[in-house]
């Protein structure tokens, strides 16, 4: 039997600690209460007393290394057997020296790129709101309700309340003057001229009737389901990212054997890998991910793509499957804008622009540049933009906006023959779509025959703080519907 010694909690506000010095060597005996290491918390260096007795079989965290509270730092067992791979703890990824947190928001900026502060264009947007505001009709909530019920255009009503606000009386006056059987909205203006008779009685009636109109609550029951999904989610998420960074050739620190002197063979992470590590850890610890997947019949889409490419061949343009998916996502995002939003300070920041990030493997690792303005592009424009983006990514000439401006992302591993996978959301985004290869698969058709179709499995990862499983399902089905009826994408 072995006991894992974990980075101790030394105060409710402690989140991580650094092993300053091991006071016991591997193979030595430890007793309960005996100091085994010096741990540096954010307040002081303290001695960490073992809460297990036996032999210190394995030290998992090197001196000078910082790990979160609760992470296994050593293993104590009953005998001195050398511990093999039995208790494979997570690799003690060294936490990189602290850097300004702002940089973490655009993870993929390579070292060379200028770190431009991200003000994702939120500020200038209040300019055009000005004229809109002056056009807004001032009316009280109850007046609006009555107007909706009676089909009255509030713009045609004169407000007599403070500041010209349309009040209940103003609308009621018109309602009362309306002919009983057919309340047509058109002649109202004219009728407004008619002096209405003050009839207090029906006034209250109207309000009572409206009491029945209750706002539809959000489908809350779905939350539970989605939560259940979280529990069943496959554990090693980080693998996905590693896999995408296909050019990764460096040995992982965790592959080291127990006997080896850990220090000597530890290959330091590249800056990009450190960034990826930071961003993925942050995403997975801050963003409660949930996942929804579905199979998409791409047969029609593949045919259409072939036609389109023929048509565009003259222009030298070419649309990929991924471009179709981007185009479908853009439409779906307009209908389900929460998947295009950011979670911020306990609220949801909606993004007007749809900038679709596309995961790309580059030499040093993985980047996720965005097609800025994808929301306003035709399929052809998307195809051109994504080709351009990919070229410039390889050349390293992407703009900071493209690095950090994504509002949604797509990660496609189809070209690698992957059937399905799940992706980690890139903060501050709230969702990412992971798509696998388009493969011929046997499918049960509507008439129960087994047919061969070109199928693609797509998996949505989304931030549970702003969306629920049911919404995820609707959004994903929207994309599926679009791809299965691909004309709707280009029309």
């Amino acid at each position: 039997m072995t006991t894992e010694l974990t980075m101790p909690q030394m105060g409710y506000d402690m989140q991580e600690g650094t092993v300053i010095r091991w006071l016991k060597a591997e193979g030595s005996n430890v007793e309960i209460g005996e100091p085994v290491a010096e741990i540096e918390t954010d307040k002081a260096v303290v001695e960490f007393e073992s809460y297990a007795e036996g032999v210190l079989q394995k030290i998992l965290v090197n001196e000078g290394t910082t790990v979160p509270v609760g992470e296994v730092i050593a293993i104590v067992g009953e005998d001195s057997e050398v511990l093999g791979t039995t208790a494979e703890p997570e690799s003690p990824a060294p936490v990189a020296e602290p850097e300004p947190s702002e940089e973490e928001t655009h993870a993929a900026i390579p070292l060379g790129a200028a770190s431009v502060p991200t003000t994702d264009g939120a500020e200038p947007s209040d300019e055009p709101e000005q004229p809109a505001q002056s056009q807004r009709v001032l009316a009280t909530p109850v007046a609006r309700q009555i107007a909706v019920e009676a089909g009255i255009d509030l713009a045609s009503v004169e407000g007599t309340g403070p500041g010209g606000r349309i009040t209940k009386d103003d609308v009621q006056r018109i309602v009362d003057a309306m002919p009983e059987p057919e309340p047509e909205p058109e002649p109202i203006e004219a009728q407004a001229e008619v002096e209405p008779e003050p009839e207090p009685e029906p006034e209250t009636e109207t309000v009572e009737a409206q009491a029945e109109v209750e706002p539809e609550p959000e489908p809350e029951t779905e939350t539970v389901e989605a939560e259940a999904e979280i529990e069943t989610e496959p554990e090693p998420e980080t693998e996905t990212v590693e896999a995408q960074a296909e050019i990764e050739t460096e040995p992982e620190p965790e592959t080291e054997t127990v006997e080896a002197a850990v220090d000597e063979e530890l290959v330091p992470l590249s800056k990009m890998r450190q960034q990826i590590a930071r961003v993925t850890i942050r995403s997975k610890s801050e963003k409660p991910h949930f996942y929804v997947n579905t199979d998409v019949d791409m047969t029609a889409a593949m045919e259409l793509r072939a036609q389109i490419n023929q048509a565009m061949a003259a222009d030298g343009a070419r649309a990929t499957v991924n471009d179709l998916i981007i185009a479908a996502s853009v439409i779906a995002l307009r209908r389900y804008p929460k998947f295009n939003a950011y979670y911020e300070d306990g609220g949801i920041r909606m993004n007007d622009d749809v900038n679709v990030g596309v995961a790309m493997a580059v030499e040093e690792g993985l980047i996720l540049p965005a097609i800025v303005g994808a929301g306003d592009m035709s399929l052809k424009e998307i195809a051109q933009a994504s080709k351009d983006l990919s070229d410039r990514a390889q050349q390293g000439t992407l703009s900071p906006d493209e690095y950090s401006g994504g509002t949604f992302a797509i990660s496609n591993m189809g070209m690698m023959g992957v059937t399905s996978f799940v992706a980690i959301i890139q903060p501050p985004q709230s969702a990412v779509l992971a798509v696998g290869a388009v493969q011929k698969r046997p499918v049960v058709a509507d008439d129960d025959r087994i047919v061969v179709r070109q199928m693609m499995t797509s998996t949505l990862s989304a931030d549970h703080r702003i969306v629920d499983g049911a919404e995820g399902a609707m959004f994903l089905n929207e994309i599926k519907d679009l791809l299965e009826n691909p004309l709707s994408i280009i029309l």
């Binding site: 506000d13 307040k43 002081a44 809460y51």
Partner: protein, 329 residues
């Protein structure tokens, strides 16, 4: 060290057992805290066991105990179930307060253990009120209020001594002077110096200062205090000089004192001293002690298992006991 001659053998075994239980409980709590099974603040009583065990061992069931947030020792000394206690520390449904109070707020009304209270000095007026209730109802009981040297600079300390003396209430003010209010030494916080018991004289409350590391001296002083209180002569004040080996809480890196100071106090460790004396006077045998150690270890292991295996409270209890009756309004 006082002579133990007046003690029965069974009492000796019981005192040893209780002090050891508290120490092992606290050590176990620290381990569970480091493993994040206990949250929030955790204040350990290690080093001060003789005070709680010595003083509370002289109380009758109808007497009351009220104390501060370093309350595990008093709760266990008063007979609270270590399982309920540990489960409460771990925030479980089976905890003494169903997981709503935590380490600093242990309660066992059935044993007249009226709580750990986490606002420094806050328990003093309430303890006085318990004394008032006892007196007005003509009950033959006393209340023992534990507080630390940190509390004596609060206005409530003085208000409480004044009220208790003015109304001649059956209150034992029990000061556990462990020399530090968090990390600040009493010499730096109390103008009258560390002999705080002198302040009681101003309020015409008889007061003594004792060695809080000596269980027998604690018992002797408490016996006398209770005699006076039960005779209806009003409150008494005991200042027990004691020491906590650990920091103020688990988060305390203890930068404010030298390790040598801790070592000096450890020489007078209340459990070691009592053990040595009892052995010397033939009131306990090594075998008996070993049996007790084994039994305590089992009790602690059981408490830990119980806490770990107990469920967390169901969310629907969250609104229970805000008021006596849940109202829809």
């Amino acid at each position: 060290m006082k002579a133990a001659v007046n003690l029965e053998k069974t009492e000796v075994a019981e005192f040893y057992r209780r002090m050891l239980l508290i120490r092992r409980f606290e050590e176990a709590s620290a381990r569970l805290y480091m493993q994040s099974l206990i949250g929030g603040f955790l204040h350990l009583y290690i080093g001060e066991e003789a005070v709680a065990v010595g003083a509370i061992s002289l109380l009758e069931p109808q007497d009351y105990v009220i104390t501060h947030y370093r309350d595990h020792g008093h709760a266990l000394a008063r007979g609270m179930d270590p399982k309920a206690c540990m489960a409460e520390l771990c925030g479980r449904a089976t905890g003494a307060s169903g997981g709503k109070g935590g380490s600093m707020h242990l309660f066992d009304a059935s044993r007249h253990f009226m709580g750990g209270h986490a606002i420094v000095g806050g328990q003093l007026p309430i303890g006085v009120g318990i004394g008032l209730g006892i007196k007005m109802q003509g009950k033959n009981a006393a209340v023992m209020i534990f507080f630390g040297d940190g509390a004596v600079n609060e206005g409530e300390f003085h208000e409480s001594m004044n009220l208790a003396s003015l109304w001649k209430l059956p209150v034992v003010f029990f000061l556990e002077n462990n020399l530090y209010g968090m990390g600040t030494h009493v010499d730096k916080t109390h103008a009258a110096g560390r002999d705080i018991y002198n302040s009681a004289e101003y309020y015409k409350i008889p007061a003594v200062q004792i060695d809080g590391m000596d269980l027998l001296e604690v018992r002797e002083a408490t016996t006398e205090a209770l005699r006076r209180v039960r005779a209806g002569n009003g409150p008494v004040f005991i200042e027990a000089m004691t020491y906590r080996y650990r920091g103020h809480s688990m988060a305390d890196p203890v930068k404010y004192r030298e390790n040598s100071e801790v070592e000096e106090w450890r020489i007078n460790d209340p459990i070691d001293r009592f053990k040595a004396l009892a052995l010397e006077e033939g009131l306990i045998t090594t075998e008996e002690m070993e049996a007790i150690q084994k039994e305590v270890a089992e009790v602690i292991a059981e408490a830990i298992d119980y806490a770990k295996e107990s469920p967390f409270p169901e969310l629907e209890v969250i609104h229970n006991n805000v008021y006596a009756h849940r109202t829809s309004k």
